[in-house]
């Protein structure tokens, strides 16, 4: 009998769930996909809080964007593609203006749906690199850099330290990566660069199930003695790798990571991790007007979901950057359409006309927070300058000037990848979306 009651209750809940009132028409609905659960939650929590707090601050301080409140709703994906798709289907009906999947797997699953549902997708510096080409992927945006840009900057840096690209000849570069699409993406570029400049590449894959069990990879490192190490890690893989590197006695100054390693993931390795390098495109910390506002309007009012200790951490700031892009896209869309409540199609146009110049960064209270970024119809990425940060034992310290990616190598790869994507997906729609020219 209990089953009957359970099922009746379930059905009732279901009906209520389906009959949920849509968000009010005078609001802009921005769903935030986040993952505060699961094996990758360590990276996901500060990002989610950064995203949430910045937009909440806009609501509290300015009453939204252009006078329209943002209806924020978090959807928990657990970094799982299935739940991500469920989230997407759940928010789809509420007319979201933009979706940020925060997982390469979810992004790939959503790419074909974006054009059909007219919902732009912002995969900030992750996802499909080829999506940088707006002519092929009008609905997908991945600013400010692709993984290939990141890798090329690292190799450039290494070459600079060695004293020129010709000095790379005969050197060995080790590449330790999460054995998933994300970690495998840079390999073709790395191999091509190896051919161009005559260095050797050693690959050390780490399976997701073995993230916290890396001793054999580091034994391999010890045997091969690579001159430099590059890491494409995520979640618990990163602290484990740093700890193992310290244990093996690897030269930390020669150990580069892609931009996803946060402070919390290095701290555990102790003082030995000093010198570890990490890419970034924005500064860390809280020394900006907007952050003061977040503190005043969100944290002090108890509207944040996170703990104050993560305020200003690298990944928190990354979340803020992501939200700045969303807010700016909505802002530009409002300017373009002269409408207050914008739709997904408008925000797509807003994204394409995004122009975060240094004056604009100043206007939004983030003077000097990040490099300027301008997108266009053809370029959905920006391929902005990156810089290297170094771990000084307690925090990340900027350790290089701005370095641009090797566009001459990356661009053909992007074009080839986009062409391949279209070839494999027969019936991939040609771009029909008109292109705005605003000045």
């Amino acid at each position: 009998m209990s089953l009957r009651w359970t099922s009746i209750a379930a059905c009732a809940a279901m009906l209520i769930g389906l009959a949920l009132p849509a968000f009010a028409d005078d609001q802009i609905y921005v769903p935030l996909f986040s993952y505060r659960t699961g094996p990758f939650a360590g990276s996901g929590i500060p990002i989610a809080d950064g995203m949430h707090d910045y937009l909440t601050m806009l609501n509290e301080r300015d009453g939204g964007i252009g006078g329209v409140r943002l209806a924020l709703e978090e959807c928990e994906t657990g970094y799982d593609t299935k739940k991500g798709i469920e989230c997407y289907e759940a928010v789809k009906g509420k007319k979201p203006v933009i979706v940020n999947p925060w997982s390469t797997g979810i992004t790939l699953a959503l790419i074909p749906k974006a054009a059909v549902d007219k919902i732009p997708i912002l995969s900030m510096a992750y996802g499909l690199s080829a999506a940088a080409l707006g002519d092929t992927f009008p609905w997908i945006f991945n600013p400010p850099d692709t993984y290939w840009d990141g890798l090329s900057v690292i190799v450039k840096q290494i070459a600079a330290r060695e004293g020129g690209f010709d000095k790379l000849k005969g050197k060995t570069i080790g590449y330790i990566y999460l054995d998933a699409p994300y970690g495998k993406e840079p390999i073709p570029l790395l191999q091509q660069l190896a051919k161009n400049y005559g260095f050797n590449v050693k690959l050390y894959p780490v399976a997701a199930a073995e993230m916290q069990n890396q001793s054999s990879q580091w034994l391999n490192v010890r045997r091969d003695r690579p001159n430099y190490m590059i890491m494409w890690g995520w979640g618990a893989m990163q602290p484990t790798a740093v700890k193992e590197a310290v244990k093996t006695g690897y030269m930390m100054a020669n150990f580069y990571s892609i931009w996803w390693i946060g402070e919390g993931e290095v701290q555990g390795a102790g003082p030995g991790a000093k010198g570890l390098k990490n890419l970034n495109w924005h500064n860390n910390g809280t020394g900006y007007q907007a952050f003061a506002d977040i503190k005043k309007y969100v944290l002090d009012k108890g509207l944040s979901k996170g703990s104050p200790s993560e305020f200003g951490l690298e990944l928190y700031d990354r979340g803020v950057y992501n939200s700045v892009l969303i807010a700016e896209a909505i802002h530009v869309a409002q300017k373009l359409t002269k409408a207050k409540v914008v739709t997904g199609a408008d925000v797509r146009r807003g994204m394409e006309n995004l122009d975060l110049s240094s004056t604009r960064w100043k206007e939004i209270g983030l003077d000097g927070f990040a490099n300027s970024l301008a997108l266009s119809c053809a370029d959905h990425n920006g391929h902005g300058n990156l810089f290297v940060q170094e771990w000084d034992g307690t925090k990340w310290v900027k350790a290089s000037g701005d370095v641009g990616p090797m566009n001459d190598v990356v661009d053909p790869l992007l074009a080839a990848a986009a062409k391949e994507y279209v070839d494999k997906n027969t019936g991939w729609p040609k771009r029909t979306e008109a292109c705005d020219h605003t000045s």
Partner: protein
């Protein structure tokens, strides 16, 4: 009263042995099919179809597959995720080579490769039993997942390492890819699942099914009465993997739209095993009930707090969700260890004698 077989006489063995010997059951199944084919697509929105209905069908098919192996033949397996992956990757390769051939053919053909691989990994079942076999099938799971990640040929050397579903049409109507409507994909999935369930049902009611059950109940005794263990067990592995493989191909082509190797991880194997056990071992109906409960329950639970107007953080909901599902699993096992299918049978018995207690 309502459900009474009095007066329904069977005058030959054929009528007595049919799957639904009672008239009410036959009417019931027709009503369910009518609702499934016509009612659901008419009433359900795209959220219901894409998130609830189609995945439910796919899970149910995989659960039937595993149930043939675990419930009917008594062989525990945790390789389901891997076998589903084989089906998906095979289908993907086939449709790349022969884009002209109808995709449904390739979805069904994808299962054949899974059947072959399943039979191969089923070989140890001749020597080892019980939990030892369970762990041994994990070898298949981990090895296959490693292969999906490490063999670029399988995903056509895609840079992203994933398989992406191209748009394929049937009679001019797109049934895979982003342009296919939820209704089309649902109907295609429903057709495949109904056909294969019918096939499975005939298998388990026939000679093959009986030999499987003999092996399950005691394999030494089965051997003594002349059932050859090797072909019986391997056939069970093959057919089970076939159904799982088809479910895997459907999962990618009719639901996800793209897949990375982690989709076919061990978690998927666990989920399917859950469905089989909660639904009821050795029952096809159980596979459907188990799939419904395990798949739909978290979705419903996630919808409860907003529906009640409670403002709980989505992550907290997820935590509570896990706890509730975990507790419910234990509760169900305590209350009805033979699964939902047994509950259904008890209910049916009650209906049969209603309004009298017995």
């Amino acid at each position: 009263m309502l459900y009474r077989e009095v007066g329904q006489y069977h005058t030959n063995y054929r009528a007595d042995m049919r799957i639904f010997p009672i008239l009410q059951d036959r009417i019931g199944i027709l009503v369910i099919l009518a609702i499934a084919f016509l009612g659901v697509p008419l009433i359900g929105g795209s959220f219901f179809l894409d998130v609830v209905a189609t995945p439910f069908l796919i899970y149910a098919l995989a659960a039937i597959g595993l149930n043939l192996l675990t419930g009917y033949t008594g062989l525990l397996s945790l390789g389901t995720g891997g076998f589903m992956g084989i089906g998906a990757y095979t289908c993907y390769k086939l449709t790349t080579w022969f884009p002209g051939v109808d995709i449904v053919v390739w979805i069904l053909a994808g299962g054949l490769a899974a059947a072959a691989v399943g039979a191969l990994f089923g070989l140890p079942s001749l020597r080892i039993k019980g939990f030892y076999l369970l762990v041994a099938t994990l070898a298949a799971q981990f090895f296959l997942q490693w292969a999906f990640e490490r063999i670029p040929w399988l995903y056509n050397n895609n840079i992203s390492g994933t398989i992406e579903v191209p748009t394929r049409t049937l009679f001019g109507l797109p049934i895979t890819g982003a342009t296919a409507t939820p209704v089309t994909r649902y109907e295609v999935a429903l057709c495949i699942v109904v056909a294969l369930t019918w096939l499975a049902s005939n298998l388990v009611h026939g000679r093959i099914g009986r030999s499987w059950m003999a092996v399950r109940d005691m394999d030494i005794a089965a051997e003594l009465i002349g059932i050859k263990l090797l072909p019986t067990k391997l056939l069970s592995f093959a057919i089970s993997s076939y159904l799982c493989g088809v479910a895997g191909a459907m999962l990618v082509f009719l639901w996800y739209g793209s897949a990375e190797p982690t989709v076919f991880s061990i978690d998927l194997s666990f989920t399917i095993l859950f469905m089989v056990i909660i639904g009821g071992l050795g029952s096809l109906l159980g596979a459907f009930l188990g799939a419904a409960l395990i798949h739909v329950l978290p979705i419903v639970l996630r919808g409860v707090p907003p529906a009640l107007g409670l403002n709980i953080a989505s992550s907290t909901v997820e935590h509570l969700n896990l706890m509730i599902v975990g507790a419910l699993i234990i509760l169900f096992l305590v209350a009805e260890p033979f699964g939902l299918a047994r509950l259904w049978q008890t209910g049916k018995q009650k209906l049969r004698v209603w309004p009298f207690p017995y």
